[in-house]
């Protein structure tokens, strides 16, 4: 066998699992979803093709309000995850001793070892009216009666930030880690204040990491299901819940598929917009080596 054949063969062998994975688990289901979303139900077991599902979405304020609400809160969560995650990432990458870095990183990972569900229930136990925080506040006399912390948007945002902040920290740490400390020192040496150095040197340098983290966090948040529902209680309306309801409770696959396509398109649009506004590209951020 010629050498080029060997290279070709090994390429095919190595690439095949990935191609299969992409094709079978991502492209095919998406095509299926797209197909179903264009199906109109006429009667039991009877369908025609059309865009009426999309029209139905646009004509029902509940649906697009839920989508907008989901997007808005996801952006909020992303921003807060960035605000919370950046100092942590900066500390891990730049200030912490080499030795303690791995331990700190691991500590950030610990919440991921627990399932989403358990974490959400953890929050419930802590924040519910008869939970730890409420009892503690009563004990120290800060409040007179029990306080309910659950079932509002603030709790949902906080719970989501907690869940996704790691995905902000990891790309930030890896970007900041690659930053030569002397860049920061040069920034000071040439007369920059803390703020100037942060704004003109650290942030621009970390921009690929910031954008990558924001994309990941935004996508995760917009697609999350358990946390908003469990912590949001009666006032949580999250778009994924809407999709679940359509598929499972309402047996309405057509409209569920439509919502799925819309969520994908809409979040992709937000990501595209974010990349445009920050003057980055996918290649320079998420796919950065």
């Amino acid at each position: 066998m010629a050498r080029s054949d060997v290279t070709k063969l090994s390429f095919i062998l190595l690439f095949a699992p990935f191609a299969l994975w992409i094709a079978l688990l991502i492209i095919l289901p998406q095509l299926g979803i797209g197909y179903i979303s264009l199906r109109e139900k006429v009667g039991p077991g009877e369908y025609t093709f059309g865009v009426s599902n999309y029209v139905a979405f646009l004509s029902e304020p509940i649906y697009w309000n839920t989508l907008l609400r989901t997007a808005w809160m996801s952006i909020l969560v992303t921003a807060m995850a960035l605000i919370v995650g950046f100092p942590v990432a900066y500390y891990i990458a730049k200030i912490a001793q080499r030795r303690s870095r791995a331990a700190l990183f691991l500590m950030c990972l610990i919440p991921l070892w627990v399932s989403d569900l358990v974490r959400a229930f953890g929050w419930i136990v802590i924040l519910r009216e008869t939970g730890l925080v409420s009892s503690f506040l009563q004990k120290i006399g800060l409040v007179s009666g029990p306080v309910e912390f659950l079932y509002n948007d603030a709790t949902v945002v906080m719970g989501l930030v907690y869940t996704v902040v790691l995905f902000m920290i990891v790309p930030l740490v890896s970007t900041l880690d690659g930053m030569d400390n002397s860049l920061i020192e040069a920034g000071y040496n040439l007369g920059g204040s803390r703020f100037t150095v942060f704004r003109r040197i650290v942030v621009p340098y970390a921009m690929p990491g910031i954008v990558a983290g924001c994309i990941i966090v935004f996508m995760l948040t917009a697609g999350s299901y358990l946390t908003p529902i469990l912590l949001g209680g009666k006032n949580s309306m999250w778009f994924t819940e809407q999709i679940y309801e359509q598929f499972v409770t309402r047996y309405n696959w057509e409209s569920g598929a439509t919502f799925g396509v819309l969520l994908l398109v809409f979040t992709s649009f937000v990501v595209w917009l974010g990349l445009r506004l920050t003057d980055q590209s996918l290649a320079s951020t998420v796919a950065k080596d």
Binding site: E185, A186, N189, G191, T196, I201, Y205, M207
Partner: protein, 357 residues
């Protein structure tokens, strides 16, 4: 008038003393180098001057004013970093303008000054280029321009030539010296490469284990080292252990451990008859052939041709290896490997330092 003065400056990290009571003065407009092996504390010293480390004790004065309480971004000291630390997200013009903008100068001034300094470092019109488009030497000049545009009292350079390849390094040494002349600014240059220090500096401080061994002009250090460390570190030298037999009139008679005797200048006054010493003799003062004041016999092992700094390696009878400088190696040379030769040098060319064992 001194641009930079350090007074018994010390820095301790826990039990480890990185810089131990160092004092020196750098006159205005001079090129001052600190030369020492890695880990000798020279980088810590420089970082203290720049303000990135706080001294444990001592004082740093710039133009007579103590800067200990001045934060790093306010000190009139600019620094060229080892890897230059040009900001990759800015183009050349922005890199140079950064410091001016931090100062809050107006746009027109900034543009003018940036163009001016680029002109002075020989890279006019490169404002719009990206850092990655420049060659190593050009980056070097930009890094200096970025500091010089701020007209600092002292420019610190932390082994800035370390990352360059050999050819470029040789050229940049000369260029740096020229730039320093041109800007007439005090340069404080840190290096472990003695040839850089000797070539460019007005004065060199040799640093070892947190302390200055000797401060002096390159010629003084080379020709009149005050310690064994300086003698060994600055320039090439043969170094033979031995024992002092007698001391008289600043001359020491040494019995070499490998066999043979020699008379040399006493480098310090701690040498007494019987004390352990080391004898330093530079390769270029050695000659092959009889008739010199000091003499060792040996066998030629090999000839190392390297143009002007060619060497003959001779194995002395006692086992010491002797490097002999031999500029001429044009084929007419009578010395061949395996030949028995006499190596000689005059009394004044050898230097002897005591060793505390």
């Amino acid at each position: 008038m001194h641009d930079l003065q350090c007074e018994s400056l010390s820095k301790r990290f826990g039990a480890y003393t990185a810089v131990n009571s160092v004092s020196f003065n750098v006159p205005r407009g001079s090129f001052f180098s600190i030369l020492g092996p890695s880990g000798c504390g020279k980088t810590t010293l420089m970082r203290m001057i720049a303000g990135f480390e706080e001294p444990t004790s001592g004082d740093i004065r710039i133009k007579g004013q103590s800067v200990l309480s001045t934060p790093p971004n306010k000190r009139p000291v600019k620094m060229v970093f080892q890897h230059l630390a040009l900001f990759p997200m800015m183009n050349i013009g922005e890199n140079i303008a950064y410091g001016l903008r931090c100062r809050g100068e107006n746009k027109a001034d900034i543009t003018r000054k940036v163009a001016q300094v680029l002109d002075r470092v020989g890279l006019p019109g490169t404002e719009q280029k990206q850092v990655s488009q420049l060659s190593g030497g050009q980056k070097q000049r930009i890094a200096i321009a970025r500091c010089m545009v701020l007209e600092p009292d002292v420019l610190l350079l932390d082994e800035p030539l370390g990352a360059l390849d050999l050819k470029l390094r040789e050229r940049m040494k000369i260029e740096l010296k020229q730039l320093q002349h041109q800007f007439e600014t005090t340069f404080l240059y840190i290096t472990h490469d003695q040839s850089e220090a000797l070539l460019m500096s007005d004065n060199v401080a040799v640093m070892n284990a947190g302390q200055f061994e000797q401060i002096g002009s390159p010629q003084e250090l080379y020709n009149d080292p005050k310690t064994g460390f300086v003698a060994g570190f600055v320039g090439d030298s043969n170094r033979w252990p031995g024992r002092a037999l007698s001391v008289a009139d600043g001359k020491v008679r040494v019995a070499l451990d490998g066999g043979g005797e020699a008379i040399a200048t006493a480098g310090d006054d701690r040498i007494a008859a019987g004390s352990t010493v080391e004898l330093f003799v530079r390769p270029e003062v050695l000659s092959v052939g009889p008739g010199a004041e000091n003499r060792l016999e040996g066998t030629v092992e090999s000839l190392l041709f390297n143009g002007a700094s060619s060497r003959i390696l001779v194995r002395a009878q006692g086992g010491n290896l002797i490097e002999v400088g031999q500029a001429v190696m044009d084929g007419t040379n009578r010395v061949q490997p395996g030949a028995r030769v006499d190596i000689g040098w005059s009394h004044g060319h050898g230097r002897c330092f005591s060793v505390s064992r």
